[in-house]
């Protein structure tokens, strides 16, 4: 009988995670990045959380960033987006052994004080003790009370792609 030892366990964390938001329409592509996403997961229970400051999404154009914060996200009133969920099959993610593992991630995404369930496949790549996690999912702005004025509706997609990419290290 072969005994497998899964060296998963403990808290893995970073304050320098990336989240990209991307909107594609025939008229214009809009992209913005946040490189200071605070996120952590529990290698034993699979609990996964992140918190991102809305104002910290940087757009190529200052005007787009201004509209995003003031008109759509009201980011002074609703400064953060958070996610509180689970890596469903955490047992399959062996943080002690280099390799690539996949698991569904499900949980509650909160934007503008509106909380919705989201689910996506996550890819976890372990290398030299660093766990890189990547996932992509799509949200509809209307689901989170983000109202796009008719004058610019043709330039902003109803399907916003969210890409998360974070390098976690064991928290001491």
């Amino acid at each position: 009988m072969v005994a497998f030892t899964n060296h998963s366990g403990g808290i893995f964390k970073t304050n320098t995670g990336n989240i990209n938001v991307f909107s594609h329409t025939a008229i214009e592509d809009i992209t913005a990045d946040n490189h200071k996403v605070k996120t952590a997961f529990d290698g034993t229970s699979g609990k996964l959380q992140f918190s991102a400051l809305i104002k910290d999404f940087e757009f190529p154009k200052a005007l787009m960033q201004e509209h995003f914060n003031e008109n759509y996200m009201e980011s002074t009133k609703f400064p953060k987006s958070t996610f509180n969920g689970m890596i469903e099959n955490i047992a399959a993610v062996n943080t002690g052994t280099d390799g690539t593992y996949t698991s569904n991630v499900t949980g509650k995404l909160t934007i503008k004080d509106v909380t919705k369930e989201v689910s996506a496949q996550g890819t976890f790549t372990v290398k030299n003790g660093v766990v890189n996690a990547k996932t992509t999912f799509v949200i509809n702005p209307e689901d989170y009370n983000i109202t796009i004025p008719k004058t610019v509706a043709s330039k902003i997609s109803k399907e916003i792609k969210i890409t998360v990419d974070a390098d976690y290290r064991h928290a001491h």
Binding site: T14, T16, K36, K61, A62, L63, T76, P79, T82, N84
Partner: protein, 148 residues
């Protein structure tokens, strides 16, 4: 009579186009050349957010703030935005300061446990009491420049 009116319409249209073009292409805030709205210690700005996040957002967010504080560590894990961490409240509160990649060499040259003076745009306080793994807090500054 028609000619002056046509000319006026053309001038107004041209003016509107130029205004729109300039607004669409206006640059991001240049922190280095912007005078700080306030100079404050790292511990004082952290305390302001800890006491009343909403009021501090109104007072400080989107503004260029000059901050003095003790450098706890450099965080170079994200190549897109090298960061440094200043002491906020002495245990689980920090000031996280992000820089453009071209500042990397200057950040590498900084010494831990020394006092740093910098300017940056205040983005708010990250972390959450509702998320147990993320209960530590960071007041976040972006597009920082060192004041030497």
């Amino acid at each position: 009579m028609k000619k002056p009116i046509s000319l006026l319409i053309i001038l107004i249209s041209l003016g509107a186009f130029l205004y729109g073009y300039r607004a669409y292409n206006k640059p991001h805030t240049d922190v280095a050349s912007t005078e700080a709205a306030e100079t404050i210690s790292a511990s004082a700005i952290f305390q302001a957010f800890e006491l009343d996040d909403s009021s501090a957002m109104v007072k400080y967010s989107d503004k260029v703030i000059s901050v003095n504080g003790l450098l706890i560590r450099r965080d170079l894990n994200n190549k897109n935005e090298p960061q440094i961490v200043l002491e906020g409240n002495g245990y689980d509160g920090f000031i996280r300061c992000g820089f453009k990649p071209e500042y990397l060499d200057k950040i590498i040259a900084l010494q831990d446990s020394t006092y740093i003076h910098l300017k940056g745009i205040c983005m708010g306080m990250n972390g959450s009491d509702e998320l147990d793994l993320l209960a530590d807090k960071d007041v976040v500054l972006s597009n920082c420049t060192l004041i030497e």
